[in-house]
């Protein structure tokens, strides 16, 4: 039942510190704005999405301050009803389209996908730069529209409200978003081609790091779903500008058609946002537990399973929208199916810790936080998928809390884990470990305090997008706002110490975590061409174990068959 591997992983001998790396190879504005180096583009994205995160966060701050009081008397409260509506729309649009969707693929993926597969760059470096310019153009147009008064449709643009009733700058925002959609299309296309064509010698599909698998699955979703969103948004603009009846029943259209088109993108978009995070967590858990991932093929195929099933559940956002009873039942059942691969991942991550050498550094704290919060988010999704229960909690704060657990508790925690994990590689400097741990703790506690009361509020019946509410909801709203203030500290803190570390952090060395990934087999920061010599891969991604012997627990070693096949394949080349 056991085999002995030829290669027992050793600590990698540090290569001599190079004179030239990607940061000092050229200076000046031109060298950044015209760069085609995936690492520099990743940093351009890092700056842009961070800016967007804090703008979206400012909107969230105003929302939570406004909701401290019930505001039922006309004119009371921090914001007017119209401004409140514009504020939550802005928060949603910026956070989803300009932060959560691009954040992990465009920053961490851009930087590390080529490095993890031993490539010098992405397949289309200039397309990569173009994607950043397109992103910035979309962001500038959207942000301009928001400064000129913004839009009050909610990020969902439901028709016929968005096409005939809203008196706000809907069309400019739609244009901005449609443009920004192309940026993620370019990134997705680049990733798919790169993973297919540019893997290092010996790097077979089943030796790919799980982060690469998850980015691959994400890119496939982006390529298939984003065009549908672009079409839906263009149709809204057409109806709004020229009164062509598409969605408005008064013009002969069907409002549910918009919801179908919108959620056909926007449900898979949830997985666009969370799958890369799952990949980051797989990298961090294996590294800081010094273990192989438990059930590599199951974790990898769970990503693919999520990508496929994620396309079949969109109408679970529409159980109450006037859809047929049987359609509701079918989409409810399919929604439960998509929960299975997520559960598989959580169990495998947990099992990976077993008998490990668990090193509780900041990245692992964030990753464990991800598992906890994502699990709560996923399990409350089971409540929403039960049609009979969704009737009560749909469009309430229960839903708000649920998707914040997935998006913020999931994606943002994973992003923080990845950012801290790879920061030494990106910057060449260590972040201050104590501050990092403190930030992880503050974010976790602040998050729970902010969003747990919202589940209670939702079941009590507080609808979402309410600028005012009945007085009995106030105590829980104040609790949520108080938690949000703690959360805000947790997000500002890393901004401060990460910038500080650029000048004052300890020099990192090529592989401060003793990680096995190819990206750690080159100096920090990496040279412009990533690797002096193209690496040759002869083992799986997470060979942290000190012994080559396979230890069997639970019975059945699924990896053996796969590995045998892979070895045959690589011998056959």
């Amino acid at each position: 039942m056991s085999t002995v591997l030829e290669h027992v992983p050793q600590a990698v001998p540090p290569p001599a510190q190079p004179q030239v790396h990607y940061l000092n190879v050229a200076f000046g504005v031109r060298s950044w704005l015209l760069t085609t180096d995936h690492k520099r583009i990743a940093l351009l994205y890092l700056v842009s999405v961070t800016l967007m995160f804090f703008i979206g966060g400012a909107a969230a701050t105003l929302i939570r301050l406004h909701l401290m009081t019930p505001n039922q008397a006309p004119g009371s409260g921090l914001l007017t009803a119209d401004n409140y509506n514009r504020m939550f729309t802005m928060h949603g649009l910026i956070m989803i389209f300009f932060f959560l969707v691009p954040v992990i693929p465009a920053v961490l993926g851009n930087f590390f996908l080529p490095m993890m597969i031993g490539a010098r760059d992405l397949a289309f470096p200039r397309l990569n730069l173009l994607s950043w310019y397109v992103y910035v153009s979309g962001a500038v147009i959207t942000f301009w529209a928001m400064l000129r008064g913004g839009t009050d449709t909610g990020w969902t643009f439901y028709t016929p409200f968005s096409t005939k009733a809203s008196h706000s700058l809907v069309v400019p925002v739609l244009i901005g978003l449609t443009i920004a959609g192309f940026s993620s299309l370019f990134t997705g296309l680049n990733f798919v081609v790169t993973v297919h064509l540019m893997r290092a010698p010996g790097l077979t599909w089943f030796r790919l790091p799980l982060f690469v698998w998850s980015l691959y699955a994400t890119s496939v979703i982006i390529l298939l779903a984003t065009p549908v969103l672009a079409m839906a948004l263009v149709l809204v603009a057409v109806e709004r500008l020229w009164g062509v009846g598409i969605f408005d029943p008064a013009l002969g259209g069907d409002p549910l058609l918009f919801q179908h088109l919108f959620w056909f993108y926007s449900h898979p978009a949830v997985y666009i946002m969370v799958l890369p995070g799952m990949g980051v967590v797989s990298e961090v858990i294996t590294c800081f537990a010094r273990k192989n991932i438990f059930g590599y093929t199951f974790v990898a195929f769970a990503s693919i399973g999520i990508a496929v099933l994620g396309f079949l559940v969109w109408a679970h956002h529409m159980f109450l929208a006037g859809m047929s009873v049987y359609a509701s039942l079918v989409f409810s059942a399919l929604s439960y199916f998509v929960a299975v691969p997520s559960a598989i991942k959580v169990f495998n991550w947990t099992a990976t810790l077993y008998k490990g050498s668990v090193w509780l550094q900041t990245p692992l704290l964030f990753a464990l936080g991800f598992i906890g919060l994502f699990t709560i988010g996923g399990m409350t999704g089971l409540f929403l998928a039960a049609v009979g229960l969704d009737v009560h909690v749909h469009d309430t704060y229960f839903v708000v809390a649920h998707f914040h657990f997935i998006m913020v508790g999931g994606t943002v925690m994973a992003y923080m884990a990845g950012l801290h994990y790879w920061w030494p590689k990106m910057s060449g400097r260590m972040y201050p470990e104590g501050w990092g741990k403190l930030a992880a703790l503050i974010v976790f506690v602040g998050f729970i305090l902010t969003f747990l009361p919202q589940f209670v509020l939702g079941y009590l019946g507080m609808p979402r997008r309410y600028a005012s509410y009945v007085p009995e909801f106030q105590v829980l709203n104040v609790m949520s706002s108080a938690g949000a203030s703690i959360l805000a500290v947790g997000y500002v803190l890393p901004l401060v110490y990460l910038i500080w570390s650029l000048g004052y952090g300890k020099k990192a060395g090529p592989n401060p975590w003793g990680a096995t990934g190819l990206e750690w087999q080159t100096p920090s920061p990496p040279p412009p061409e990533n690797f002096a010599v193209t690496p040759v891969v002869d083992r799986g991604p997470y060979e942290y174990a000190s012994s080559g012997e396979i230890e069997v627990i639970g019975g059945g070693v699924p990896e053996q068959a796969a590995q045998a096949a892979v070895q045959e394949e690589s011998h056959g080349r």
Partner: protein
């Protein structure tokens, strides 16, 4: 003004309908199952993180690649649990979705930013709904403008009021009192002001309320509209008419010119008023003009959808030989009925 006018604190919503009990039972089941699963994962993670914490840089770790048996357990196990959740959720939903026949019928029209309610006995209310306790109540909803959603947390009842179509839901209140009514689908500036109350009354109180507030029933009001809008000129109900008789139409199967057979339900009648050319009855000429945008009466505060509901109620009540004669009560309009000031009763 004090920040807290009065401290009111609640953790769980009131339960005031038969559906509420079923929904809450499902909620407790899901909470228990996910609670156990979540606790299991959390405990294991904390236990492993502490027990196998790093003691030195030279810790030795075993090479564990996975286990087919464990993978199957935690794939199939959750799958079965999820299936139970699905079936339970579906059964609760089917009970909500199947509207009973023996219910009190009430029509609700959402518009920015109010709920307009019409009872069959003639009462009309705005942002209020009076219903008797222990009786099934069926709501038929639509919207004048954008999508709204009718939400009564204490009843665990919610349904979107979608413009251009009718949706139905029902509830049976189990206790008397006043309960919140919210709009749950974002509908613009005063979305959060589109709230009201559901008053659940004892049967006798309810009847007293009905008598006290009685005005014209929707069918009677619909009859007035039928005459005022001159529908009766063509739909005469006899052989001379230029349009089919509407007597006894409701619920019948109608054969259309293109061979389709449709049931003359509320949606069919609504469509025939707004887009008459869409469903022309076999044997008749497509001569009826669309009444879209000619039905509302701003002076009366009457929206188009409310007017259609009245017309449907009237057509529904119209039995054999009951079509009025066209000279009755209402003179023919001098100008476009939608703009004339002289059209008031």
């Amino acid at each position: 003004m004090p920040v807290f006018a009065q401290i009111q604190f609640q953790l769980f919503p009131e339960r005031a309908s038969t559906t509420a009990e079923r929904v809450d039972a499902l909620f407790f089941f899901l909470t228990a199952v996910t609670g156990v699963m979540g606790l299991l994962v959390t405990t294991l993670i904390i236990y492993f993180a502490v027990k196998y914490r790093r003691r030195s840089e030279h810790d030795r770790t075993p090479r564990i690649l996975g286990s087919l048996r464990l993978e199957l357990i935690w794939t199939i196990g959750p799958f079965i649990i999820f299936l139970i959740m699905f079936v339970w959720g579906a059964s609760v939903y089917l009970a909500i979705a199947q509207t009973p026949d023996d219910a009190i019928e009430i029509y609700v029209v959402g518009k920015q930013w109010m709920w307009k309610v019409q009872h069959l006995d003639g009462q009309r209310e705005i942002n209020e709904l009076h219903v008797p306790v222990g009786r099934r109540v069926k709501l038929t909803l639509t919207s004048e403008d954008v999508i709204h959603s009718f939400f009564v947390p204490a009843f665990r009842t919610k349904i979107d009021a979608v413009p251009g179509r009718y949706v139905q839901t029902w509830f049976e209140a189990t206790k008397t009192g006043r309960f919140h009514l919210f709009c749950a689908e974002y509908c613009g500036t005063y979305h959060s002001g589109m709230i009201g109350s559901v008053h659940v009354l004892e049967e006798e109180e309810y009847h007293a309320w009905l008598d006290r507030r009685a005005e014209g029933s929707p069918a009677l009001e619909g009859r007035k509209l039928f005459l005022k809008l001159q529908c009766v000129s063509c739909h005469t109900g006899d052989a001379q008419g230029r349009a089919p008789s509407l007597e006894g139409l409701f619920g019948r199967t109608v054969v259309l010119q293109d061979g389709r057979r449709v049931t003359a339900d509320a949606s069919y009648i609504r469509r025939s008023i707004l887009r008459p050319q869409a469903d022309v009855v076999a044997g008749w000429q497509p001569i009826m003009p669309s009444y879209d945008r000619l039905l509302a009466d701003e002076k009366e505060g009457l929206g188009q959808e409310e007017a259609i509901i009245r017309l449907i109620a009237y057509i529904r009540s119209l039995d054999r030989d009951q079509t009025p004669v066209r000279t009755e009560d209402f003179p023919p309009p001098e100008v476009n009925p939608a703009t004339s000031d002289k059209m008031t009763r």
